[in-house]
Amino acid sequence: MLFSSELIKGTLKTIILKLLSENKRMYGYEITQRVKDLTGNRIQLTEGALYPTLHALEADGLLTTETEYIGKRVRKYYSLSKEGKARSKEKVSEFADFIDTMKFLLDIKHKPV
């Protein structure tokens, strides 16, 4: 089952920050592929959501970039800034709390699977 884009939208920043904290630097396509692989195709990041978020994170100073020429085209690599590293931890722990709260709120433990 593929998760809805509505669910992914709120967690996109967390996903990107966490992935970059585990990998030194990544480019856009690589991020989408890694997410796809890690989730067994259940989360597919759309380009329309990924790039605006990457630009916003860069503008916030959480990401730094470096460019490399691949033949005629330019590849932009993203990595975490010092602030981004700290924010990545915050975001992940915030989301963990959120999951716990949602579990409790939706009474997920007691529901038959």
């Binding site: 480019y27 856009g28 396509y29 989408t32 759309t46 380009e47 329309g48 959501a49 790039y51 605006p52 978020t53 990457l54 630009h55 916003a56 503008a59 916030d60 460019t67 691949i70 033949g71 005629k72 085209r73 330019v74 590849r75 932009k76």
Partner: protein, 380 residues
Amino acid sequence: MYCINDKQIDFILNDIRRRGIEMEDLQSNLLDHICCIIEQNLKEGDDFEEFYKKTIPQFFENELWEIEQETITLLTFKNYYAMKKTMIISGIFSVTAFVAGSFFKIMHWPGASPLLILGIAAISFIFLPLMFVLKAKEASAAREKLVAGVGTLIGILLCMSTLFRLMHWPGASILWISTSACSIFLFIPIYFFSGLRKPETKTNTVVTTIILIGATGLLFSLTSIRKSRQNIFLETKTYYKNEQLLARMRSKVSSSTNTQLCNNIQNACDKIKGLILKEETGYDKLPPDFDTKNILITEGGIGDSFGGENEGSKLLNDLKELLNNYNTGKNTEGKVPVDYPFFELSSEGIMQFSNLSLLNSLTQIQLFVAGSELQLTPVK
């Protein structure tokens, strides 16, 4: 892995541009992304263009430029909060500085001018422009943006003309008149006609327009009774010159036959003048460098210290009595005139009496007394 050639790269880049992606950064991101997809999924001998045409729609719902629009929205959204925060902080700061500055000015405490300048500058150059940018972003119609823009301009002009007038800076009157004119001939018509078109804002617009016209009229009427700094300076200078003349005469009198009564009259006049000057300038006496320090006597009421049983009205009554005593037994030429209107006014009336006129009349009385003592014939 498919090997993409330069011609194909140019083809993709041109297509991305044609589809409305203008940000260079985004162009290269998308180009690399599409190239990666093609390289990973296209096999040698497959039709490149056909594959590309199938791939590109997965990037958007309706059009490719949606990505750029979303990027811009996210970027401005971030600025939006920073701007809003700055606007609120600058607003609180300027209002505090302005209120404190006005209070300091009334109390004649030091630091009034920097506070007023800082407060008004912050409201004019930070708060109002930011408010306009945020309003313009929220406004959908161009007409609403125009109203917000012209309104901001009038607000800045109003703040500036108030500052110029408070500080007696040159050009204050011109600014004041320009503000009134812009408001009446530009802002109010634009506001009125744009608001009138919408049925839901019609009544509010009419009421607000009437209030705006009334307020502008009031402001304009203030312009006409204000004097230019040049005139205020000349009046202050005339007063200062008279004071110098009086000081010179008194220095001669002191070495001759000076009586106790004369001394009492001179001292009473000095005290009253001190009260008026303190109220107006914060100083008991006009300093010689009044011009460079921007200490000017602006004509207005003489203030609270002369109302009712206050010190000023008591001193005026004492002075009248002293003058009557002085005149007793003197011939017509030696008498000091006492037919000044301020001696006859009620306690309410005296508060409205012109400070400058009272100051000059008192100096005149002092000159008469000093002149008589020097056996000079007073000038009629």
